[in-house]
């Protein structure tokens, strides 16, 4: 009964105070828009850093003249390492062919050279989920200790730089995200407080005619719930529209062809919607508290 009355009164109130409702919803969505854009930016930046790190493959060069029967044993050893997705053996002949095709028109410089002069090697592809930059470094160091291995190449300098960069990015993202969240919460809570204060006379009259606190609060909380839902919905739609547009633009540009954009994971979307709703409902409940005493 109380829910149906509250719903009916909430809908009537929305009609009655339509401009105020729109204004509050816009404030909610603008505050969340900044936060949502920031999330999209930080997620793509992190993805970029990770992808870049993972594209740096690991190449294990073996010593010249290593007995052929050791190759399958080493192959098994590398495949058995946690996080290794694929291993490709590159024989000296295969390496020679690659060099020839790399040199193209100047391949004659290799004439008379023994096709077995290059060392055999393994090219390792790592699992992106398991292999972070620190793990690549650790595994490379481990393999380097094996007696059959002459050198492990994995772009050590790049990995060190990327590690430092992604560490800074993570810190910036955490601090700015927190600040933006606090700003959004502050703006939304204060806007709601003002809208509740603007209807203070209505609250007083409702109390006067014997309305219970739940009767008074019900429609306000339903309105706050809808504002939170609509505000976050608008913010997410705008960010999604921008994301779709940027993705289309990047796809069409030859310069950024390999640059993949990703939208917010569903957990982020759910967190943005639920925190917006909670913020609006809690803000309203707190702002109303002082009018519901006595």
């Amino acid at each position: 009964m109380i829910i149906s009355i509250s719903l009916r009164r909430a809908l009537a109130d929305i009609r009655q105070h339509f401009p105020t409702q729109i204004m509050t919803t816009m404030v909610v969505s603008l505050s969340l828009l900044i936060l949502t854009f920031f999330c999209l930016f930080s997620i793509n930046l992190q993805h970029f850093v990770e992808r870049f790190g993972n594209e740096l493959g690991v190449v294990v060069f073996l010593k010249q003249g290593i007995p052929q029967e050791r190759i399958p044993i080493l192959y098994q050893k590398i495949t058995g390492l946690k996080g290794v997705e694929a291993v490709k053996y590159v024989s000296p002949e295969e390496a020679f062919k690659r060099l020839q095709s790399y040199l193209k028109d100047e391949r004659e410089v290799l004439e008379g050279v023994d096709p077995r002069f290059l060392p055999p090697s393994f090219e390792i592809q790592v699992n992106r989920a398991v292999f972070n930059l620190a793990r690549i470094k650790q595994v490379a160091g481990e393999i380097e200790q094996w007696p059959e291995v002459s050198k492990v190449q994995y772009g050590r300098e790049w990995i060190d730089r990327l590690e430092a960069f992604s560490g800074i990015v993570r810190k910036i993202v955490a601090i700015s995200g927190l600040l933006l969240m606090l700003t959004a919460a502050f703006v939304v809570a204060n806007t709601i407080k003002l809208t509740v204060y603007a209807r203070q006379e209505e609250l007083e009259i409702l109390r006067l005619v014997g309305a219970t606190n739940s009767f008074i609060q019900g429609p306000f909380l339903i309105e706050a719930f809808l504002q939170g839902l609509a505000g976050s919905g608008i913010a997410l739609s705008i960010v999604f529209g921008t994301y779709a547009y940027l993705e289309k633009m990047l796809g069409a540009s030859s310069m950024f062809k390999n640059f993949e954009l990703s939208f917010l994971p569903w957990q982020y979307v759910a967190a943005i919607i639920s925190s917006s709703v909670i913020l609006c409902v809690m803000g309203t409940a707190l702002a109303m508290r002082r009018f519901l005493r006595l």
Binding site: V209, G210, N213
Partner: protein
């Protein structure tokens, strides 16, 4: 008051002090019988509104005991206050209407809070609004009405749930003579139907030639009753 009948309103040794400031009401003893019409008079600032606010629990007394329709206000919990207010119709000088609501919606509010079905609300609200002579203005917004009409809407809201007690705080203060007369007739009619009325006013003309009991507040103290 018949012997054995509990009074509609009883104040015993009631005082009210706001913060550390002046005493707004000092040691008030007052009993109003069921069905009685009492004028509460006194100059502005004498404590009339404070006394009424204590009765509908908008304020709590600093000391003393208050009972309204056999409910002891001192022991009421927060959740019981709405139940007390449903037994009291309050009318103010400034009407306290929701300006953007229609006449119907303003009056219906008092019935919606007690959970009456929409069809019952509609029937009873129409009846009461016709009773105060505004049957043709049901769908007008409160802000579109004259002062006298707004006060009649406020009276309709105060009585629509048939409360046994009506508290009127200077209800004619903003009205001309003709509208004042209309309001007084409505109040007499409500009293004739059995409502207990406590009518606060500083306008002597309203109680000069009346047979009703008049109690006077002066600087927060109750003076001898007429």
């Amino acid at each position: 008051m018949r012997e054995g009948d509990a009074p509609a309103i009883r104040l015993k040794g009631v005082s009210k002090r706001f913060g550390l400031g002046n005493l707004a009401l000092a040691d008030i003893d007052l009993e109003i019988a069921k069905g009685e019409f009492v004028f509460l008079t006194g100059p502005s600032g004498s404590g009339k509104s404070t006394l009424l606010r204590l009765l509908f629990c908008a304020e709590r007394p600093t000391s003393g005991e208050i009972s309204v329709d056999e409910m002891n206000i001192g022991t009421l919990s927060g959740a019981q206050i709405p139940l007390l207010r449903r037994k009291i119709g309050v009318i103010f000088q400034d009407f306290k209407l929701l300006n953007n609501y229609t006449v119907f919606e303003n009056v219906a509010l008092a019935l919606e809070v007690i959970g009456l079905r929409p069809d019952q609300v509609k029937k009873r609200v129409k009846q009461v609004i016709e009773g105060v002579g505004l049957g043709t203005k049901l769908n007008r917004k409160a802000v579109q009405l004259s002062g006298g009409e707004q006060q009649r809407v406020a009276i309709a809201r105060a009585v629509v749930n048939r409360p046994p007690i009506i508290l009127a705080d200077e209800p004619t203060g903003n009205l001309d003579n003709k509208r004042t007369e209309e309001v007084m007739l409505l109040m007499e009619e409500l009293n004739a139907r059995g409502a207990t009325i406590l009518f606060a006013t500083h306008d002597e003309r309203l109680y000069q030639n009346t047979h009703r009991r008049v109690v006077r507040l002066e600087d927060g103290k109750l003076e001898a009753a007429q």
